[in-house]
Symmetry: C2
Subunit: 417 residues, 2 copies
């Protein structure tokens, strides 16, 4: 017997047929004697409809009322899934965030979970009852529903898994796991059987859409093993009852991975833009004078490269921002020109960041050099480089995205996984 | 300054345009310095969609989960209306039943309100804030949302009006008041300026759809003055700020009505069926042996007529049930034949009950006789008659519905109101 959390995303509960399929997956687990808490998203499309209504009500609106409207989507799914489970002979009960309660901070629309009282859920497990919990929401200190922001149901699932000390948290989605890269670009991409939290965190941050970044962070901190699998698989298929036989990707601690790869995957983020400030005074505090105002404007600055200028008392500084933020960034920089004292500013869109991720890089030298050489051989110009312990990223022209991804996938031998 | 409750039904909040119109009515009242609690239904069609989903999930389902799903409709409206009000500069906040709380009993799907804590709402009034309350729902003793049954938003509005000691409760709907009869049958039907609780209760029970029966009962018990008016009127029209000038119908105590009419209105209910049991033993307990089993089968028995049979030791008994219940009723009676010992049973559908209502009947004799004479002159055969203090009803063939309604409307001089 195990205690598990099963999370179903919007496409996995899109209509009554999909909800019945989800219920069949759940029944398989309860039939195997497992204690189950289910976390559900809104039916696909519902959240968009609700968000659109709040926008029509007023383009600028109170986040508390937005939360009241939008959280109703998950409420509907939780009730419907409980009804379907009951009709299949599975004892089930729906739970909203305010009932458990799942306590959050007061940041309506982007709240963080602060505390989950597991008492009621565990009592119900002892009675053999499945808890169907609305994801994406909790109860704020103002006694109002607070939503966690888009994709927050993953975070709900992990937080509940941590609170009830679940053996694992299964994330049912419309893909059957995490891949070495995007299969739409590289058909040879292979599903990873296991990947570490750290690697998954980098992949999620770098555009792999399987899991929300915060949910991976939370899983890593609390040691919640995540298993990503498809809700479109046959619920009664080969994997029934035993996680190890199911197709999917386990996201876990490094020590659970016996055969470590140097490189695990290739990720990319489109729509990057580069902004360069020319001939700044090379004095302490110049970085703060640039990035302070950008942060205040809520602009996410990424790859920062500082280079020498011709004049040794001056420096050049280049960084990337999402394409959509270029205009705002340039306007912020123009306003701060008197403080920053740059001589010229240039911007360049149409860029993409391609990243190579692998926990094995920690102990292997020369991993990045292999990439630089391979990209150079294909004539791909690298505009900027950043590295961290377990990944490095290169900024290149968007036209080269597919070529770069395939080249790197091949050079690190991921084609044959 | 007055403290008022404003209730908007489904067609009055059917889309964002209608919600904006409702908000304009509310702003008129707050601009006039009134304290306002708003009670909203789900957007027209939403509740049907949610009910249909629960039916698709399983035809037989847990009322607690039904409530979780269906109550989301009002939640959405409350949030959207609060956003629209805020965008118009009106301080507003949405409230769900569990937040106030509105405590109900445990009869999920058809719960009764037991207690409303007015403290928070009144605190917010003092701060100049409008409370936008989700109708149709409260919090059951099991800490779950409990709905009041279809049309329950009227009841929510009256219960809140009683709890906050409102000066009146305005029911905004898609008609502009209560009429002497159905204007689709009698174009000379006139809007009543005032009607007593007792009369309204009879009208609502007898098929006038303007208000839910329970809400009228509750208003009568707590002395909540109800004002039925149209949300489709110009919010800035002649009636602004002052209830007495608005088109609509005030439902109030008898002593608020100076000029009492003998007859106030003509109501009718279609789809009645008559069941006759022939030659029963005329002994004590025979009624109980018939109506006990029918009540257990949840069949609503109405007009009961007991007549003499040829054989003096026997009696005939005739009663009406809704057409849809005839088959079940006959089956129940067949099962109980050994106890009841009737010799024959007959049933007849296609009947209609036409009722004449007026508080003045208490002090006027011969009111019913006028009707019987008028109907006889038109050749309308009366199948059964029931009377109460302030109304009488006749059962006739459905083909005569329009003729009977118009004849009675005319004979009691309602055409010239």
């Amino acid at each position: 017997m195990a205690r598990i959390v099963m999370k179903f995303g919007g496409t996995s509960v899109a209509d009554l047929d999909r909800i019945r399929a989800a219920a069949a997956h759940i029944k398989r687990e309860t039939d195997a004697g497992n204690q189950v808490a289910v976390v559900v998203s809104a039916m696909a499309g519902q959240t968009n409809q609700l968000v659109e209504w709040t926008r029509q009500a007023s383009p600028i609106h109170d986040a508390r009322e937005y939360d009241t409207v939008v959280s109703s989507g998950e409420q509907v799914t939780s009730g419907l899934l409980a009804i379907v489970l009951q009709s299949m002979g599975v004892d089930a009960r729906s739970w909203q965030g305010w009932q458990i309660p799942i306590r959050t901070n007061n940041a309506h629309g982007a709240a963080r979970i602060e505390d989950i009282d597991p008492t009621t859920l565990i009592e119900r497990f002892e009675m053999g009852q499945v808890a169907v919990v609305s994801g994406f929401q909790g109860l704020g200190p103002d006694n109002r529903v607070a939503t966690l922001g888009r994709g927050g149901s993953d975070t709900s699932a992990v937080a509940i898994a941590a609170a009830i000390e679940a053996d694992r948290c299964d994330i049912y989605t419309d893909v059957d796991g995490v891949y070495t890269t995007d299969p739409r670009i590289e058909p040879k991409a292979a599903r990873l059987a296991r990947v570490t939290f750290e690697e998954m965190l980098e992949m999620a941050s770098l555009g792999a859409k399987v899991l929300q970044v915060r949910s991976v962070e939370l899983a890593m901190v609390h040691g919640v093993r995540l298993f990503v699998r498809s809700s479109f698989d046959d619920p009664h298929g080969a994997g029934a009852g035993s996680q190890s036989n199911m197709p999917g990707t386990l996201i876990c601690d490094e020590d659970e991975i016996v055969e470590k790869q140097v490189v695990t995957g290739i990720a990319y983020t489109r729509d990057e833009a580069q902004i360069s400030l020319r001939r700044l005074p090379d004095v302490p505090g110049v970085s703060a004078s640039i990035f302070g105002p950008l942060a205040e404007a809520n602009i996410n600055v990424d790859m920062i490269v500082q280079g020498a200028s011709d004049d040794l008392s001056k420096t050049d500084l280049t960084f990337t921002v999402p394409s959509g933020d270029v205009e705002t960034a340039l306007s912020v920089l123009a306003d701060a020109r008197d403080q920053i004292r740059y001589e010229d500013v240039q911007s360049d869109g149409g860029l993409v960041k391609v990243s190579v991720i692998g926990i094995g890089m920690r102990s292997h030298a020369g991993v990045a050099a292999t990439a630089f050489r391979a990209l150079a051989e294909k004539g791909i110009n690298i505009r900027a480089i950043t590295t961290s312990e377990i990944k490095f990223s290169v900024l290149i022209g968007a036209d080269y995205t597919e070529l770069a991804v395939r080249t790197l996938h091949s050079v690190y031998d991921l084609d044959n996984r």
